[in-house]
């Protein structure tokens, strides 16, 4: 298994390089780096100084090395709007986004898997049909529109929950989060549910398909032939088989959730990285955009690597096959 992990690690690093090349090429070669990295409000003299300072007059491959060197030390440019290092800005907002993303994932698992199993076990029941229709809706409704509707219903019409912003945070065991205060929770509910909805639908459908396929397998019949209680057949034999693909998808979705938080944060004015990104697009604050994209790419590669490692732990067939290689 270690061989497998090392190989994946090397692959990840290689991908990181490739992606950094792509972003670099996008910014320095295709786009106009002068526009992207130098504030449009600079005058001619400042501009020339900045060009020299950023090395934009150097040949392209040298620029790439400069770029890499700076990136590794965490210098990804300065925000036009805030005049602060871009990376620092983003990192400050990251906890809020992570909190939202994790809350959404937890919701997705806790709601999605049980509902999915129910519809897989009793596909004909009216409750199952309702859930399936609901899942199609959850899958098809554009997240941003759902967010709008949630605000409309729960904040404007019913007035139960606040419509924007993040609530108060509490600190437990060194972790600061909204979940530790009631106010924080009230602010977290709508955006987390909004973000989670698509994933809930996805997990319901995945779990259902997994259950239906697994139930047809011979080993389920065999387990019954051994005289096992139906409950054990479902919750041990069937569940373990479907959990592996479901959890893998979930792991991969984590990245998607973080990325997609862009939308939810915009609607609910949640102070995370995503809102920063959209604002940056609108203000043409390109250094922040570049920094965000690079950071996300790194995070993604890390998540994918972790998911692969997790998969090899969970599925004994993968573990043992690779031991022989």
């Amino acid at each position: 298994m270690t061989v497998f992990l090392i190989r994946r690690l090397l692959q990840s690093v290689a991908v990181l390089f490739v992606m950094s090349l792509i972003v670099f090429a996008g910014v320095y070669a295709i786009g106009n780096p002068v526009d992207i990295l130098i504030s449009p409000e600079a005058d001619q003299g400042e501009r020339e100084r900045a060009i020299r300072a950023l090395g934009l007059d150097l040949p392209l491959h040298q620029q790439y090395l400069v770029f890499l060197r700076k990136a590794v030390t965490g210098n990804l440019g300065e925000s036009f709007v805030f005049s602060e290092p871009a990376l620092g800005l983003i990192l400050k907002r990251m906890p809020a986004t992570l909190e939202l993303a994790l809350a959404a994932m937890v919701l997705a698992v806790v709601v999605g898997i049980p509902l999915g199993m129910w519809t897989g076990l009793y596909p004909g029941a009216p409750s199952s049909r309702t859930i399936m229709v609901g899942s199609i809706l959850g899958f098809s409704l554009p997240t941003f529109w759902v967010g709008l509707m949630l605000i409309m219903v729960f904040a404007v019409m019913l007035g139960w929950l606040p419509s924007t912003g993040r609530g108060q945070t509490g600190t437990v065991l060194g972790v600061t989060s909204s979940i530790f205060t009631v106010d924080g929770l009230r602010h977290l509910v709508l955006p987390a549910f909004n973000l989670a909805l698509f994933r809930i639908a996805l997990i319901i459908r995945l779990t259902r398909a997994g259950v239906r396929e697994t139930l047809l397998q011979d080993f389920v019949k065999y387990a019954r032939a051994k005289g096992l209680r139906e409950r054990r057949v479902i919750f041990v034999h069937v569940l373990k088989n479907i959990l592996i693909p479901v959890l893998t998808v979930l792991g991969l979705e984590l990245g998607g959730v973080i990325a997609f938080a862009v939308v939810t944060e915009t609607i609910f004015a949640w102070p995370g990285m995503g809102k920063l990104l959209v604002d940056s697009f609108n203000h043409l604050d390109r250094p922040v955009i570049v920094a965000y994209l690079l950071l996300m790419v790194c995070m993604f590669i890390a998540i994918n690597f972790l998911v692969d490692a997790l998969y090899s732990v969970l599925d004994p067939r993968v573990r043992i096959v690779t031991r022989g290689t």
């Binding site: 941003f144 709008l148 998607g256 959209v278 697009f281 590669i301």
Partner: protein, 307 residues
């Protein structure tokens, strides 16, 4: 291999009076009323989009037809030009219903066009990878894998940051996001089909490679790809709407449904809900319809669920 209770009804099921596979597909598909509803809905939406100028009470982009005084009228109010604002009007006096029809054109058009282009590229890539194998296969699949491990919205954001705004740039972004799914699906099917006898036979007949690929291999790989197409079209439409909503997508000169919804966002809290609400419903109907059809297609074409 599944052994449990094999009973000899297979011959009867497969060849009922020389029924063609397509006919059986249609019959299986129509077993789900929901799916048929989806198909009908989609046809309606597409018709409306294509015929927009003919069925809209107003052309919302013709400034001469607009009157600011008619702004923010609730649904059902009469207009001074003689028709009704069935779904209300926005802050500029534009009829929401007409806006939806025109917006559908753009949303559907962009979505379907990008899906088709991605489909073409993906199939080429997938077939090439499966047929030629070796280094080419590894290379193409590496790219596909890497791309698929990143969320679509991130890739779109990267591309749009680099390329800027515009309809063509959006289409490029959407195509880039989608082609990898097609490539992977086609390659998987093609790998299975490639080893089947009819390909051997075609080789023996010394048919040209191109002919083998496109006339023989491709049609047999299509069923799973068809399912992917429906899902992807829905995703493309939703993604475009999301990007437009965020202000990163289509420019104001090509107002898709996403943009309409974004316009109405600021009025939401004050109770003027219809500016965002109805375009959203229209978007929803289009996407749900496509997903319903795609769902049933997937169930019908899935070999593992056929007992």
């Amino acid at each position: 291999m599944r052994v449990s209770g094999e009973i000899a009804i297979a011959p009867a099921v497969v060849a009922a009076e020389g029924e063609s596979p397509f006919r059986r597909l249609v019959a299986d598909f129509c077993e789900s009323r929901l799916a048929v509803v989806g198909l009908v809905l989609f046809a309606a939406v597409a018709a409306v989009a294509i015929l927009a100028p003919l069925v809209s009470p107003q052309n919302p982009y013709d400034l001469r037809q607009l009157n600011l005084l008619e702004g923010k009228q609730p649904p059902g109010s009469p207009s001074m030009a003689g028709f009704r604002f069935w779904l209300g009007s926005d802050d500029q006096g534009r009829d929401i219903l007409s806006g939806i029809f025109y917006g559908l054109r753009i949303s559907l058009g962009v979505g379907i066009l990008s899906a088709l282009i991605a489909f073409g590229i993906g199939i080429l890539a997938g077939l090439t990878a499966a047929y030629f194998g070796g280094l080419l296969d590894s290379l193409i699949m590496r790219v596909v894998d890497i791309q698929l491990s990143f969320p679509a919205i991130l890739i779109a954001l990267i591309l749009l940051a680099v390329l800027g705004q515009g309809v063509d740039k959006i289409i490029v972004a959407l195509v880039t996001v989608q082609w990898a799914y097609y490539a992977r699906t086609v390659r998987s099917s093609a790998l299975v089909e490639r080893h089947k006898e009819y390909v051997e036979a075609a080789h023996c007949l010394a048919l040209s490679r191109g002919r083998i690929l496109f006339r023989h291999l491709l049609p047999n790989c299509l069923p799973p790809v068809i399912v992917v197409v429906t899902v992807q079209v829905a995703h493309a439409i939703a993604l475009e709407a999301t990007l437009s909503f965020l202000g990163i997508g289509l420019p104001i000169t090509s107002p898709s449904l996403g943009l309409l919804i974004a316009n109405g966002f600021r009025y939401l809290l004050s109770g003027t809900y219809w500016i965002s609400f109805f375009p959203g419903i229209a978007l929803l109907i289009a996407i749900v319809a496509i997903n319903l059809v795609g769902d049933q297609l997937r169930d019908v074409l899935n070999p593992r669920l056929q007992k």
